[in-house]
Structure formats: structure tokens, C-alpha cells
Symmetry: D3
Subunit: 139 residues, 6 copies
């Protein structure tokens, strides 16, 4: 939805992952994923910036009820928190748990949970303080 | 105005507010605004990121004279600084001093002050480091 | 306690306050406290860095049980969160709610709650990102 | 290119510059550029956020090979690092080394180096933590 | 060594770990380590602040040659980077890879590598932006 | 002075410098100072954390009058701001403008300006976000 105003809330989680593709040789896996291909995994502190755009409600002054938003997003984030993503989250057994794919995963999970799906306008996922990934659909 | 380049300047102010709607019962006010409904108010350190987009002047290399911009925006920000917004700023006696509404208020005040109003392209208001609000019109 | 290792945990709260001394004239109050003397208060997002120093337990690898620490400190911080300190917290009706005094207050409240008081080694209170206050006793 | 996903990588460099226009009188130079007109230059720690938007490769989960991106951008950034921009970088002998122009310069240099130029979607240049400049073309 | 001046350099690495003690029952492990006991590990982006205190050399103006310091510390940090600490680093097969113990490990590794061991004055290890661990000996 | 409480205020300035020693050959200068030896200088955004320790005044709740502190420190910081340190600041024509020496310079300048010199307890100078320098005397 095209609107003038949006709010963004920051959420955090810590997780481990290994980037690997069974179709590739060991050499190619290392060439493409480098240290991220390490067999036993490694980890990051992820920070999710979730943006909700929409009309400001005149009575409350707010676009969305933040408490409810926190509950819904908490469900999605808690599932990833303190996990080894490529082993414990089904979606990432086939799909690489790259920043790009985790950002898309968060969008797909959250868009079906929030009351007005068209209000979801942007997902930004920080992976280390030097690196972030943006995802949004249909704008 | 659609342009390739923009500059953003960060400004700060500290203020108190109470979120409340006289039309609501006490219960509903608490349900909707939670701790932010506290009678005596509470406060935040706000950070404003103001974005000006436009042509780069060939002689100066700049989109806008930053010193003049600082003076104009300073007028608007100083009015809010160290105030109880819902008591001391007329606009917020009727309108909830939520992040969304403060962002819109800043846009409305600044757009009539700057030399080329069409250059104003984005207002972002941080409230705590976990929460920000974006406002822009007519893009 | 003098020890080689310490852990520090960060906690946040938002509050309003007014700096004022009834013994001073209005002029003197304004001269000393400036904008912080504003009758209706103003506010900040405070960030508390709490440091616990002590022996590393061999079996757990930890100085203190963080979950329990969070519970105890949460009690103290929640009491201040979203409050007008000089009106709603008894201690600050007489004592100025300055950064210095809030830091001391946090030390005094926390030192009597934690299992090994001698482990409390440092309280740092950030008030805006340009200003912090340190408090520690008997080192 | 319009795509749903992008990645952003942060790069840093430190440089000195003087803002000055030979066509202006000394008075006008000082009026326009203020302290930045200081004859012997002054400096900043710049931080570049480079955004690449495009399709997520199914096999790798990535939009672009980050190692190769780092190499290419490294060439451009190293040329500016620890330099006096208006004296040592030809481009800035005529063109003011303002934030706006450095952002555009980085875009122009990088867009011809990366494998898929249409993937370059955004350049953000931080100059101090209070000031940033955005540049993008043809979106 | 007691000196008036010190320099601190920041280094980063990303790693996974699991907190677990074979001597404890599954219940006790979960009670003590919580989510950090997750079998497949989880991860963090660690940030190391290394402080070197000592005399300022008159000819160079520096306490230590930073390039050499970076090389030495790089050896220690690279060994941990992108690893599963409790599986791949011998020291952490017996000793819990807690923030406290990693900080001590870094001290022990670095103190024997730097030219003047007495100059090592402080190790601070950030694990998430809400949590850090300090380690220093013999001061 | 040994006291339980201190306040720290953050100040910023931007400056250029060149690290060089006339007594060294060109090769040795480059070997020791690397890119920082660049003839035309380079620059940084410095951030000064100034710590004042002392008794909390009962009437004001404050250790020191911050407005007066800002004025005094402003005098010292403004002298360095937007300057080429090794050319324009006498002290640095002979003494290398390294982080260590700038920290010491700030201490020496400020300690003679503040009302109670013994209250000055710590100077921290950030030079880039990866590097800081601490200076304190007689504690």
C-alpha cells in the first residue's frame, strides 16, 4: 500500500548457520561460500527492522497496535533464535540460509500473520554491522 | 521532486509526552496506550533525520546551504526540545503525540520554511533506538 | 571485590523528569537547570550498563546467572520506566533526578538485591548518546 | 533494475579535503563553505553503504558474490583512502569534494566495474555520524 | 604496567557455540544455559576491544606499532572466526565457551604474542550489543 | 580525586593531519606511519569523551555545571576543529599528531581551564569507530 507514513520496529535474534549446497563439490562450496561453508557452522547476531506503512488512526495516532505487532513478530523471531538454521528450520534444509533468503523468509512468515498484509512494506535484516539485506514485494 | 541525489542531516531533541484520548474510558486508554498513558508523562530522546533531495549546484557542489537549513530546522526543533508535548505544544493538545504524528508535524512545519519546498523528500524520526517513523508526501 | 573478570549487561528505560530545587528562586532554578527546569518536565531514553565482577564458576563458565540478574534488575528498572521521576518516585521528590543521582539510586537499589553484593562493581547510566554517568563504591 | 531483494555492504575510508571555488572571492568562499574552506584542509571518516539489488541465485542464495564485490569496491575506495581529495584525486581538482559529489563519484566509478551494472541500486555516503548523502540513477 | 596513556583497537569475528556441561543432567544444562544449550549451537558477532597501555614513543608519537599489533591479534582472532568454538577450538572442548571464558582465552593468547606483555592492559569482548565481558590481570 | 561518581560528556571535531618525523628518512617515515604519512594529509572525525569525577552537590544534584563545562571545552575543541593539525596547531609542528598525543594535548589544555583541576579524571579520544585513546594522570 502506498501511504505517507510508516513505523519501523527493531527485533533481534542470534543464530548459527552453514552455507552449503549438496550439488556442489567441496572445492566449489568453499570457493563460493568461503569460511561460511565451515562444517560445524558459525553464527551471527541478526537485527530485523520491520516496516509497517499505512494510515494513521485519528483516535490513537498510530498506524498499528505495536503490542500486537510485537506478539506476532515475536512468534516468528523466537522460532529462529538460538538455532542452527540449516539444521533446525525446515525451510533452510533445502534453501541456503543466506541473508537474502532469511530476509525473504521473514517477509513470507510475517505477511500472513499481520492483520492487514498490505501494510507490510519493508524487511531489513542486519547481519553484522557491516552488512544488511532488504526485502519487499509488490511496491 | 524526483532527483538522483539527496543529503540527510540529523537533529536531536528530548521531550516528554502522554498518550491519551479523552473520548476513551480509562480502561481503553490503558489498553491502547499502555505505559505511555501514564498520567504524569514519560519521555524520550528523539532523533530527526531530515532528507533534502535536489540538483547539485555546480559552483558549490551542494544541494542546499546546510548552515541555512540548520537555522530553519533549529527553529522547529527548539520549539519541541525539553517540553511536555501534549501540554505545551498546541497541536498536540488534540492530536496524540505519537511517533507517527510527530513525524508528520515536523514535515508540515519544515516544508513551509525551506526555500524550495519540493526539495523536502523525507522525514525519519527515531524514538528510542528500537523504533523509527518515516513520513513523506507526494512522491 | 577485586577480580580479573566482569560481565556487563545493558538495560533500557524511558522516563520524564524536571530538575528543580524549591529552595532556589525561579531565576536561580532557571540559571542552574536551564531547559531542564521546564515546569511540565521533559524526558530521555536512559540506558543502564550494569557491571558484575567476580570469579568465573568452573562448571558454568559464568560469573553470575544472567537470567536471575535480569529478573532482579528488571524489578528496579520497571519501577522507573515510563514514569515522571520527580513526581512518582518518592526518592526523587527531595533529591534532584539528575543523571548523577539516578546512577547512585540504581546502585543503592541493586546492591541490596543481588546475591553477592560485593560483586556489584559499576553502574553506568547513559542519558542521550552524548552524556553518561558512572557510579561505584568502595573500590 | 526493479527487484524485491538487495544487499548492502559497508566500506570505510578516511580522507581530507578543502571546499573552495577559484571563481569566488575569499569572502564568498568563506561565506559559502565556512570552516570547510580552511586552506590546509580538514578531514572525515567516511562510511560507504553500497546497495546491490537483483535476483537471488537459487543455488547460492546470494544476489552477488560478495568477495568479488569487495575486491572491486576496494579498488575504488583505496584510491580515496588517506588522501587529500581536492589535491590528489584529479576529478576533485575542478569539482568540489562535497558529500554530494563524492557520492556521485563513487556511483560513477563502481557502476562501470561491477558485472551487472543495472544491479547497482544505491550509494549512501556517511560523513560524520550526523550527515549522509544518497545517490542513485535511473530508478 | 601503570601508565597514563593507552590505545584500544577493535577487532571482530563471528562464531557459533553451545554452552553445555557433560557432568550436568539434561535438565540442569537447560536450567543453567537456557537456549544457549541448544544441541546444534547458535552464534554471535563478537567484537574485541584490545587495550595496550604504555609510554608514548617521542619519535613516533605512538605506544605500539599498530600494523604489527593487527598482525599478531589477527592470528588469534582468525583462529576463532567462523568456527563452532566448542567443537573446533581445543580449549573450549572442556571449558565452556562463555563470554567470560572467551575474554580470558583472548588475554592468555595475546599476552604471550605481543612484544611487551606488560603493556597488555585490558580485553573487552562484546557479545551482542547488550552484553560485554572485561578481563585483565595483575593491575 | 578519588570519588564515587563521575559524568562524561561527548564532544566532536573533524581535523586533518599528517604523521611524519623530519629526522626519519622517507622510507622509515613510510614504514612507520604508512598511509598516514601521505604528504597532503588525510582526516578523521574525532570524538572526545571527557570525564569529570567528584562530589555530587546536594542542592543541584550535579558534579559540575555542564553549561560552563561545555563553554570551556568548546574553546579547546574549536581550536582544533576543521584544521590541519600538524600545520596549524603549534604544538603539533614538533610533536606527532597521533591519537595518543592529541589525547594528552586535550588533557593538558582542559586541566588548566576547569574550576577544580583535580576533578578531571579521564580523556578518551575516538579516531574512527575502530580506535580510541585514553589519557589520565595521577590516579
Amino acid at each position: 500500500m502506498q501511504s505517507n507514513c510508516s513505523l519501523t520496529k527493531v527485533y533481534s535474534f542470534s543464530a548459527a548457520h552453514r552455507l552449503h549446497n549438496d550439488k556442489f563439490s567441496d572445492e566449489k562450496n568453499f570457493e563460493i561460500f568461503g569460511k561460511c561453508n565451515n562444517l560445524n557452522g558459525h553464527g551471527h547476531d541478526y537485527s530485523l527492522e520491520l516496516t509497517i506503512g499505512g494510515e494513521i488512526d485519528i483516535e490513537t495516532g498510530m498506524i498499528i497496535d505495536i503490542t500486537k505487532l510485537d506478539e506476532l513478530v515475536g512468534l516468528v523471531v523466537d522460532e529462529l533464535d538460538h538455532k542452527r538454521l540449516d539444521i533446525e528450520i525446515d525451510h533452510f534444509s533445502e534453501v541456503r540460509a543466506s541473508g537474502e533468503n532469511i530476509a525473504k523468509y521473514l517477509w513470507d512468515k510475517i505477511v500472513v500473520l499481520i492483520p492487514k498484509p498490505s501494510y507490510l512494506s519493508h524487511v531489513r535484516l542486519w547481519k553484522t554491522s557491516e552488512n544488511f539485506f532488504d526485502y519487499k514485494e509488490g511496491k
